[in-house]
Symmetry: C2
Subunit: 324 residues, 2 copies
């Protein structure tokens, strides 16, 4: 993968974010330090920090507080992944063993708790009660979404349910990143540049998750890091399946997924994936992602032209282009 | 049990705390609401809220923010218990089924996370960055202590290790309760009434846990809610065993606990418990608890005389008297 141009602009700040993240277990138990090192080395694109840094610079927020915000976001994201992987029993993430693949469930629960504590501490260190408030609300939304999926499964049949899920899972944190950056820049909530920034974050987050869900149908499994059709196999109806269902309400295999909450018969699963791929559902879902990107780009137009704004536009386009 | 006199003074505020706690899952998933109801109905003495309310009133903190602080403390305490019970595989707490006795591990992990999120939200709602800072630091200390116990076991042989453990497990949160109350009353950190309040919280927390550890040796199992000798059985060396070890460094059964990290042979265990009980170790541990209470009472002397101060003194004495 070639380096992403929009990251260049905040490369220096990102390195400070990495240093701050790496220091979060200093003075605590050595196994917490080892776990944090392992998790940070697993990498990831640090998209949430990049978005916060670019939006904050665009709106001229103080750089030192922005760096703390960016670290808080990545730490919160990491904490949720640790508990997610435990719950899903996932053994690999980004090609690297998950914590629960190496540690006991007890140690994994506690390490996640520790990361939550450090994320909350970093959010506090931004010195903004409004950022703290956004932060804790977002965490409740994320966890509520996971509980919902756990108890109700993912076999919904309405767009509203799907959108609620991907908002909780992904868009809420991108929205947090940009709204918090605007707040640190001194803009009051709910209108003006704050609202514009929030909307940009919301829309790229929604687009990002829709693309992720499309990749589960069309992606290269080596690239995506999990087998194609995984969502459907586990009874998770995402946008491609929802659109396909509209056109084919009686497809017996999709009905099976809706009723049973899974489809472990691999031949039937792959045939269903193939029918969805060759229908117009993928293109329609991609169109929906592009519509979110268009709204993110439209929001940017209201903000002052600058290299940061151009980088945020690039980032928005990257979100959809990474697929195809 | 007769009603505790020191609670009377803040009965009205405590009812508001209960209402606020009960409302924390409103608008979230119904199973989160059910879980919260179950946890709150399980009761508990609400000692942390009572301590915060009394200290806050003594120092004339604003009542509305005190109530929010008190709810934040109880929510944080509850969240840590949910993950603790999961990790320990405990099926009962206070005679009522734990969450993990009824729910899957996944649901229990997520419910704990949700409670952490709501605790952090409540702490934010106090409107004080210093309170948030104390709060997130304390959470990291608590989790670090649990990780330490998980990886190193509880078979330490020094008083310093024991004190570090009970500070993380119990005293840190009482210290948080009183320091945060003083902060809401407008006192700057680290000296004057703030430091006095913090010291009171620290010492009653230390005394409280020492008494808890003594009760594991001398308590009525119906009253304590777990079988006597449970700590030693699981390899946890607490103050009575530490003092006994000083006098009997070669006791073969205690050496077994230190080396193996448990003692499941019930006859040997009960004999060892009996030897510790009939040694001077229990009395010495109780003396240590009383010394902490004396320091808590001495701290109170520096604060203005009032019914609240008298109630806090009563509460400190209650901590040791509940045993014997």
């Amino acid at each position: 993968m070639q380096p992403l141009a929009f990251v260049q602009l905040v490369q220096t700040e990102l390195e400070q974010v990495e240093d701050l993240l790496a220091a979060q277990a200093d003075g605590y138990h050595q196994d917490l330090q080892a776990a944090l090192r392992h998790l940070l080395q697993a990498g990831g694109k640090r998209l949430r920090p990049v978005v916060a840094l670019l939006m904050g610079r665009l709106l001229t927020a103080p750089i030192d507080r922005l760096i703390i915000l960016a670290a808080a976001l990545e730490m919160l994201h990491t904490a949720t992944l640790v508990h997610d992987d435990l719950i899903d029993g996932a053994l690999l993430r980004r090609g690297i063993p998950t914590l629960n693949a190496r540690w006991s469930p007890a140690a994994t629960v506690l390490t996640g708790d520790f990361l939550f504590a450090r994320a909350a501490k970093l959010a506090t260190d931004t010195g903004s009660l409004h950022v703290m408030d956004l932060f804790t609300r977002t965490l409740a939304v994320i966890v509520d979404g996971e509980i919902r999926q756990l108890f109700e499964g993912g076999a919904y049949t309405t767009l509203e349910q799907y959108e609620r899920r991907i908002y909780a899972k992904t868009a809420s944190m991108f929205e947090l990143a940009t709204a918090a950056a605007a707040s640190l820049a001194g803009y009051p909530p709910d209108h003006g540049p704050y609202e514009t920034a929030r909307r940009y974050g919301y829309h790229i987050g929604m687009a990002f998750q829709i693309i992720d869900d499309i990749l589960d149908y069309v992606g290269d499994s080596r690239h995506v890091g999990k087998p194609v059709g995984n969502d459907l196999r586990n009874g998770l109806i995402t946008l491609p399946a929802l659109y396909y269902l509209e056109e084919h309400p009686d497809d017996p295999d999709l009905r099976f997924v809706l009723e049973e909450g899974n489809l472990f018969d691999e031949a039937r699963l792959q045939a269903l994936v193939e029918r969805i791929r060759s229908s117009g559902a993928i293109a329609r879902a991609a169109e929906q992602a592009r519509a979110h990107v268009a709204q993110a780009l439209a929001a940017l137009e209201a903000l002052p032209a600058s290299p940061e704004r151009e980088a945020l536009a690039e980032l928005a386009r990257y979100v959809t282009e990474r697929t195809f």
